[in-house]
């Protein structure tokens, strides 16, 4: 099945595209190329990137890390804005917009909050969703394309916000933060003993100060805005909406395709809209009607006879590429056998990295080229 990316990009009902996949498969570049193409097809697009490589950021004219969408110059049609997520800044803004200045100051200076907002596993995902929700609410853009954070696995993007939310709203945090109320009151004596050990061990491990900081933080945010879990749930609901489309990005390698398969299964399970799979950096080989063995045999014949070293090298190169392509196709076919309904778009490997809008445009054209035979 082939992927009709232009149909998705021009569908006025689609307002969010999420690009996901494991690290190092070209997710950010794909998100940027989709954004540029959508804009030039007439839409008002904002691309939310998480951690773009310097050159890619430059290609889109992003020089400032100020957590605000900036218009990209040189767009032929529509409009394109791009921004880099600053997770700490985004978290600070959430705090500031939901509390009076005094309490905001108290929260922002809490050591636990500082750790939470800058280095916490899951904060980046949570804030990416938070920012997505904000951009969507601004209604200045009719299409937002999100690149997902480089996580241990692609599912983290879906799970981390809920995990962080339920952690901050959870039972255990209530217990360590309310020693004065008598830990574990009303939850049974045996459990209460367990919690006694629990707080005891935690203070041994982390120190009493850390627990006190956590307690103050929770008390402060409690009175200012509703649960973190509810916020995470609301954004999650946005992702399940029919106005959203997920694009899974992978490379034709075993690990990347395994991650992609996990993600596809998860999207199915949660009835989330999946646009298709983009398979980056596939090895293209021009059709010559020859088999790899025939090509290799010819190269060996030349070498054995001591003739035409250049031609022998070219034939060897051709045979090597055929072998790489065969292996990649085999992996891709295994994916398709397990997920026959998922549209797959192969993108040929490029000899050079992307440096400018022209490069992104070229990738965009490849993304939309339904004639790529691979």
């Amino acid at each position: 099945m082939t992927l009709d990316i232009d149909a998705i990009l021009t569908n006025p009902e689609k307002h969010i595209i999420v690009c996901t996949g494991s690290g190092g498969v070209g997710k950010t570049t794909t998100a940027a190329a989709l954004g540029l193409r959508a804009a030039e097809l007439g839409r008002n697009v904002c691309v939310l990137t998480i951690d773009p490589a310097r050159r890619l950021a430059q290609a889109m004219g992003l020089t400032e890390l100020d957590n605000t969408p900036r218009a990209v110059a040189g767009i032929a049609n529509g409009s394109l804005s791009a921004m880099m997520l600053d997770m700490k800044r985004t978290f600070d803004e959430v705090v500031e917009s939901h509390s009076d200045p005094e309490r905001a100051e108290q929260i922002l200076s809490n050591p636990f909050y500082q750790a939470l907002s800058s280095s916490f596993a899951g904060t980046q995902e949570y804030m990416a969703m938070e920012k997505l929700g904000q951009l969507r609410a601004q209604s200045q853009w009719d299409l937002i394309i999100v690149d997902t954070p480089p996580s241990r696995n692609a599912l983290d993007f879906l799970d981390a916000p809920a995990r962080l939310g339920s952690f901050l709203d959870g039972r255990l945090i209530r217990i360590i933060t309310a020693p004065a109320r008598g830990a574990g009151r009303g939850i049974g004596r045996i459990a209460a003993m367990g919690f006694g050990i629990f707080t005891n061990v935690l203070s041994k491990l982390l120190g009493a100060q850390v627990l006190a900081d956590v307690g103050n933080f929770v008390a402060d945010i409690d009175t200012t805005f509703g649960g973190f879990r509810e916020r995470a749930d609301a954004t999650y609901a946005l992702l399940k909406d029919s106005g959203t489309e997920f694009i899974v990005v992978a490379a034709p390698e075993r690990d990347a395709l395994r991650e992609a398969a996990y993600f596809v299964e998860r999207l199915n399970q949660d009835s989330m809209p999946l646009g298709g799979l983009i398979l980056n950096r596939v090895q293209e080989v021009p059709e010559t009607g020859l088999t790899q063995d025939q090509v290799l045999a010819a190269a060996q014949k030349l070498t054995a006879e001591g003739r035409g070293p250049l031609t022998a090298a070219l034939l060897e190169l051709h045979a090597q590429r055929m072998e790489i392509k065969e292996r990649q196709k085999h992996l891709a076919m295994r994916f398709t056998a397990a997920h026959p309904d998922v549209a797959v778009q192969p993108i040929p490997a490029m000899a050079q990295d992307v440096h400018d809008l022209a490069g992104l445009r070229e990738i965009g054209a490849a993304l939309a080229n339904q004639g790529i035979t691979w």
Partner: protein
Amino acid sequence: MQNWPNATLHVVTGKGGTGKTTIAAALAIALAKNGHRTILMEVEGRQGIAQLFDTPPLPYEERKIAVAPGGGEVWALAVDTEDALLDYLEMFYKLRRAGSALRKMGAVDFATTIAPGLRDVLLTGKACEVVKRKEKKQDNAYDYVILDAPPTGRITRFLNVNGEVSGLAKVGPIKSHADSVMSVIASEQSAIHLVTLLEEMPVQETLDGVSELEAAALPVGAIFVNMTRPPQLDAQQRVMAIAGQLPRSEIESEISQSGLTATNQLIDALLNEASDHSERVDLEITELERLTERGLPIFTLPLLPSGIDLGGLYELSAIMSASGIGGE
């Protein structure tokens, strides 16, 4: 290993997609060559080792997973944070039973969530415990410990556990545990290797990673350049290939001599591929020069057209051995 004669702990990091687990595994085999005992550890809960060696998921238990040429054993361990925390509680507080209760309550996850630094201390702490067995001449000691570590972007924070726990207990067991971990990681007992591809982004990230590690006074080992394409054409041929000036008629007649039919389709394909390959090789050479400027040892490993399976791992480890890694 000759470059780092005293290094028992070899930490392997790299940007996603560069093959760091593959390199760590091949290194574990290469270092086990000629009768050594090595252990390959993973800490990210991905079961990458089991997938690579095609074995069932690894438990939190040291298991022999491969042998090396010349007699030698490769063991593996998937370190789990919860188990490492329970080990720790047992070691310092004799609290194993309470630990199991804590696990049921989800408290271990909670504690490591509150203090992500705690998780890293526990994981690196486990690696250091295994390293120290050698010094203590314990029966279960290993000659080399190879740690498949988190990616380049997070490696300095992961290893620099002292910085990580500075916000936690200022004194007490966690602090002294972190100090003892640092006494191994920041010493000549360790070498931190970075895996990269010869592409702009991974090379930049590798160079940034080296600077960060050096700034934190952590011992950088070597750069492993993975998945390179050995040039099929020399420099002059590459210039001609890119300019479309390779001698077409000569190639045509040589094709005929090789037993194939010299169709235009075939010649065009070969010339296009030559140009594409040359551009790629030139780019790789530029990137390799950027890496070379750092003055670190560089080991180059080829892209295996057949992909990475168990045989591929041995192939890569043999290339490492031939470049002087292990085997003494």
